[in-house]
């Protein structure tokens, strides 16, 4: 089972992890350069610079409204769906500019998958939920095998293998979210973006998801947005702290500090980070 969900002070948990695993900065999956994203006039985030590494869990934390969701949605071009959304700056995915003209968002999203805050399974059977993506994308060989592999990968197979034909909406909240994870990995992406995946779940379901993320790290690169600092400390290897920069002219989210999780939580470099992780604000 997992570590107990206790109210261990954040610093201790991070200390434990610091002793456990060194972080290997493998190749760079995302190279984000001076990213500014706006809906309309106001930039939601400004001048974000960071690199995301392969097979590493990167957490994005910060107070509400600092643009965490906006940031993560830039990475798979989901913001394209919002009328009036634009970006400046560059996002290089494995060396290629994601926003270059001629790049089809459809292809981007196939490789960079997303799991949403509120589980959103289709009103279809469990099997069809997982199989739909591969079917549409043309991965029709051994569909049954794919579905099983994805469900196993999401630690859901044992619970649903006898009722694959049942409606997905009959599952519990935590199971639905794991189904969404299975659905996302069924199309074999490289990256999984998770936007507060456990915020609507109870502690037991949450811990199941966190455990799952450790497993998924082996095959995928994960970026997770969370407002729960303990979760970031438990789960993430790297942590990016965003905050709001407010002055007379603008109100926008900025990247304050980005480093190994242990460092962010035990010995942050920026005062704003320190204030946030020690609970002085946010």
């Amino acid at each position: 089972m997992t570590e107990g969900i206790t109210m261990t002070p954040v610093i201790d948990v991070a200390q434990a992890r610091k002793d456990a695993e060194p972080i290997e900065k493998n190749d760079v999956v995302f190279d984000i350069q001076k990213l500014t994203a706006s809906y309309g006039k106001q930039p939601a985030i400004s001048d974000v610079d960071l690199e995301i590494y392969r097979n590493v869990i990167t957490a994005v934390i910060g107070p509400s409204g600092c643009g965490k969701s906006t940031f993560i949605r830039c990475l798979n071009r989901m913001n394209d769906l919002v009328p009036g959304a634009r970006i400046e700056g560059k996002i290089l995915y494995q060396g290629d500019d994601l926003y270059a003209s001629g790049v089809d968002p459809v292809e981007v999203r196939r490789r960079i998958g997303m799991v949403f805050q509120k589980a959103n399974p289709f009103p279809k059977s469990i099997y069809d939920n997982v199989a739909w993506g591969p079917r549409v994308l043309g991965m029709r060989k051994d569909l049954d095998g794919r579905v099983e592999k994805a469900l196993r990968g999401a630690a859901l197979w044992d619970e649903v293998k006898d009722r694959l034909k049942k409606n997905a909406l009959s599952l519990s909240g935590g199971q639905q979210q794991r189904l969404c994870i299975a659905r996302a990995i069924a199309v074999e992406p490289d990256v999984l973006l998770l936007d507060e995946p456990a915020s609507a779940l109870d502690p037991i379901a949450t811990s199941a998801i966190e455990e799952l993320m450790h497993e998924l790290k082996r095959d995928y690169t994960l970026v997770i947005v969370t407002h729960n600092m303990q979760q970031a400390a438990r789960v993430a290897d790297m942590t990016a702290f965003f905050s709001l920069d407010v002055d007379e002219s603008r109100r926008t989210g900025v990247l304050v500090e980005y480093d190994g999780t242990a460092k962010i939580f035990t010995n942050p470099g920026d005062k704003r980070t320190e204030d946030y992780v020690t609970g002085r604000f946010g």
Partner: protein
Amino acid sequence: MSRYRRRRIVNRLMEVIATVAALVAVAVLAIVVVSVAKRAAGAISWDFFTKPQALFGQPGGGIANALVGTVLLVLMAGAMALPVGVLTAIYLTEFAPRRVAVPIQVVIDVLAGLPTIVIGIFVYALLVIGHTQSGIAGAFALAIIMLPLIARATQEVLLLVPSTLREASLALGVRRWRTVLGVILPTSVGGILTGTVLAVARAAGETAPLLFTSSIFANSVQTDVTKPLPNIPVLIFTYSEQPDPALHEQAWAAALVLMAFVLVASLAAKALLARSRRKLVG
């Protein structure tokens, strides 16, 4: 061709089909409106609006009697339908227990879907057989058509009133009937008015119910409602069935007048709806 390219082409194709479909609908509307306007041009004149129908075989004449008749019919129909429609809607939203509300709702939807010719026959059997056609019978038939439209529109807007408003009033010790008449109805007036305007626009154009109740009329302006009232839809219908091109021209002109009225009423209803929505939602 790669599967990806094929998917892109199919997507594009579907976009084109959907756009073309919308264009076809707009084109048909344009064709009909332009057809009517073009062919009506010759007959539109001051005389057209002020003179009654010409005697059989005589040239000239206008639709004055039909205009007056339609106005009278629609006003009477509205006076009959409005109270019953609004009261029924109040019953459904304020008083009816669930088991009673469903059948009444079903009945209202049935009324809305009845073939108008059947309604005409019913009123014919009820009020015309044994007597003569009359404006009252025609108005009654139109009222049956307007009733479900007004009831539905009233229901929609009554449901928009937040329950907190009702509760606040009742908590003050104000009686149910006072709450309904003094608080809920006034906030719903905009929506009720909108529904009524739309129902009036619909009723003004209905021919089938009047065919049996108010279709044998004289060539002069008639205001006695116990006699059949001349009206625009039946006039258009009768003229359209004659081979005389002069009558056709008048039919086109009358059709233009009718369409203009419907257009103005629709725009007015939209404006009313927008205003009342703004007041309610703020």
